[in-house]
């Protein structure tokens, strides 16, 4: 084989391999979605949204788990995102270039990919042990800690995208930095910050590991924040590993609900970001 032919053949082999890799990746996504939809739709019914998680062998739904997940996710975002946004503001505005910000940025990126089960252990140690029992508020705190790095990162990135001219104009009018930040920078970066919030909700609403020993689970309807609370991920975990067919069906239905919610959140975050960039492109 001539050298030229060898090089061309070599090239073709690797390009075909790369095509196969991409196909495999996409096939995995398709396979997972297909399984979720086929199993999940079979378990879908109105009971899911009107009845509590049942004992094995009887009919039931996921109402308490859906409610618990919504409450803890919401609380987690309400606690975590203000911290993330404020810290992001510090990094982008006050601490720009300082050594402290470099360290915090680094630590934040580490927290962003730290195993979530470790955060669960942390909250167990500092909240559950002190309180003496599992509780919804402990679960919400664990989720809040997971939400902070996501919102911090996007807030900083989005504030950095605001044109310097806008900040300078505000300063030239005599505004203090706090006024500039609240009245100029936040509105300008609004859709970016909202994107961060959506991504954070998407991240924490599917988290299971940190809830296992903070919020635990609850078979019954409970709205008490200082008591164990049912939540979708832990119910899926428990029901899927059970030998009962009707529990497994509920787990699949729950898995479908969670995945669709998260994919919708991620897609809206992406669309929002695309709109933002389109805005910027036209020089508005």
């Amino acid at each position: 084989m001539s050298r030229r032919a060898f090089r061309k053949a070599n090239n073709a082999v690797f390009l075909v391999l790369s095509l196969i890799a991409t196909m495999t990746g996409l096939a995995c996504l398709a396979a997972i979605l297909w399984t979720l939809i086929s199993h999940g739709l079979a378990g879908m019914s109105l009971h899911l949204f009107t009845q509590m998680t049942p004992p094995p062998g009887s009919q039931g739904g996921l109402l308490n788990a859906l409610y618990g997940s919504a409450v803890m996710t919401l609380l987690g975002i309400l606690i975590g995102s203000p911290i993330g946004v404020l810290a992001g503001t510090y990094l982008a505005e006050y601490g720009r270039g300082s050594r402290l910000s470099t360290v915090i940025r680094f630590i934040n990126d580490v927290l962003l990919s730290a195993p979530s089960i470790i955060i669960g252990l942390f909250i167990y140690e500092i909240v559950v042990v002190r309180m003496g029992h599992f509780s919804a508020i402990a679960g919400a705190l664990a989720l809040a800690i997971l939400a902070i790095p996501v919102t911090l990162r996007t807030t900083e990135d989005m504030l950095n995208l605001v044109p310097v001219g806008m900040k300078d104009s505000s300063a030239a009018l005599g505004a203090y930095p706090w006024r500039t930040t609240l009245s100029v920078l936040y509105p300008a970066a609004r859709s970016g910050i909202v994107t961060g919030l959506l991504l954070a909700i998407a991240r924490i609403s599917g988290e299971t590991a940190p809830l296992l020993f903070t919020a635990l689970n609850n078979q019954f309807w409970s709205t008490q924040l200082n008591a164990p609370m049912a939540n979708l991920p832990v119910v899926i975990f428990q029901f899927a590993l059970s030998p009962y067919k009707d529990w497994q069906n509920l787990a699949w239905a729950g898995a479908l609900i969670i995945t669709v919610t998260i994919l919708l959140l991620s897609i809206s975050a992406r669309v929002l970001l695309a709109l933002l960039q389109a805005d910027r492109g036209t020089g508005r």
């Binding site: 790369s18 006050y94 601490g95 580490v110 089960i117």
Partner: protein, 319 residues
């Protein structure tokens, strides 16, 4: 009307201080969280560390009845499942990144890129339930018998594929992990490849190099640091991943030479046993496992971030 009202200015200054300290405290809270995690894990793990000493990490025994615990089996499981995941996901991720940056028709570039990123957004429990109900039976019925029959007889390597086909076990966990970290690795590599100046690539093409030659001799050397950083970020995820593994690992506290046998990992041991652990030493041993996981993943992720940061700086200065 006075242009500057002193009272107004004083009030502004107070607001300024309040806002500034609010942002500063939020930023410092991030540091405190990481510090708090470290301190509380060390405190929780202390009884086990004091009781077992260094032998905690060298012993395979895990017996709640006699209250004796060693971390060797979970450490082994964590390392081996992550290695399998990396062996599968790194070449595949590289292939996807190559496809997206060099081959893909522009029309498909965004949809496929987004699809890969969506795969990253799917929560890990979904991968777990899919692995248990779909992947494990397929492996048990078709892949593992073939491996046992054809690879099991080969000396040395054969030991890895001996025993009955359980379906669940170390190998299955590794494969599920590979599918989970694939999108992270592919997306990071794609971003890293995108930072290579087009002029460098065009020079390669101008000299008559093929796509693969440009990739291997220009793009890869230029983005080496970023590639390693991306791989280690994926490794950090794989090491700490809990739910996906817990479903398919089999939860057996022992080390088998066969990859087909059930095992355990640090995170799946904690997830499975923590709420049922009775006795201070049992709980403390599980927290000590958590501390080990924290130390391992912290090192890997910090190294990965440091590398990616170096790349960003280099890209920033345009070198």
């Amino acid at each position: 009307m006075a242009i500057i009202d002193p009272r107004h200015a004083a009030k502004q200054l107070i607001y300024e201080r309040i806002f500034r300290s609010a942002t500063l405290s939020a930023a410092i809270l991030v540091l405190l969280i990481l510090g708090g995690v470290a301190v509380s894990l060390v405190r929780g793990a202390w009884p086990a560390v004091a009781h077992f000493g260094f032998s905690f990490v060298t012993r395979e025994i895990w017996n709640p009845v006699t209250d004796e615990y060693g971390a060797l089996a979970p450490i082994y499981g964590t390392v081996v499942t992550s290695l399998i995941a990396m062996l599968l996901a790194v070449p595949a991720g590289f292939g996807i990144a190559l496809f997206l940056t060099e081959l893909c028709p522009p029309l498909l570039k965004r949809p496929i890129g987004v699809a890969v990123e969506l795969l990253a957004a799917v929560p890990s429990i979904i991968f777990g339930i899919w692995g248990l109900f779909v992947l494990a039976p397929v492996l048990q019925r078709h892949v593992q018998p073939w491996l046992i029959a054809h690879v099991g007889g080969i000396p040395v390597v054969g030991h890895l594929f001996k025993g009955p086909p359980f379906g669940i076990g170390i190998l299955t966990a590794g494969i599920v992990l590979a599918i989970m970290v694939l999108p992270f690795i592919a997306a990071t590599m794609r971003d890293v490849f995108d930072t290579v100046p087009p002029m460098l690539k065009e020079s390669g093409y101008g000299l008559g190099a093929t796509t693969w030659e440009v990739m291997w001799n220009v793009v890869v050397p230029h983005s080496r640091v970023g590639i390693v950083g991306g791989v280690m970020l994926g490794l950090g995820r794989a090491l700490g991943e809990t739910m996906a593994v817990t479903f398919v690992i089999g939860n057996a506290h022992r080390i088998s030479s066969s990859l087909l046998a059930p095992g355990t990992t640090i995170s799946s041991a904690i997830a499975n046993e923590f709420t049922e652990a009775v006795g201070d030493l049992y709980t403390s041993s599980l927290i000590a496992l958590g501390l080990l996981l924290f130390l391992i993943t912290f090192t890997v992720i910090a190294a990965a971030q440091a590398m990616l940061r170096r790349l960003e700086r280099r890209a920033g200065t345009g070198v």
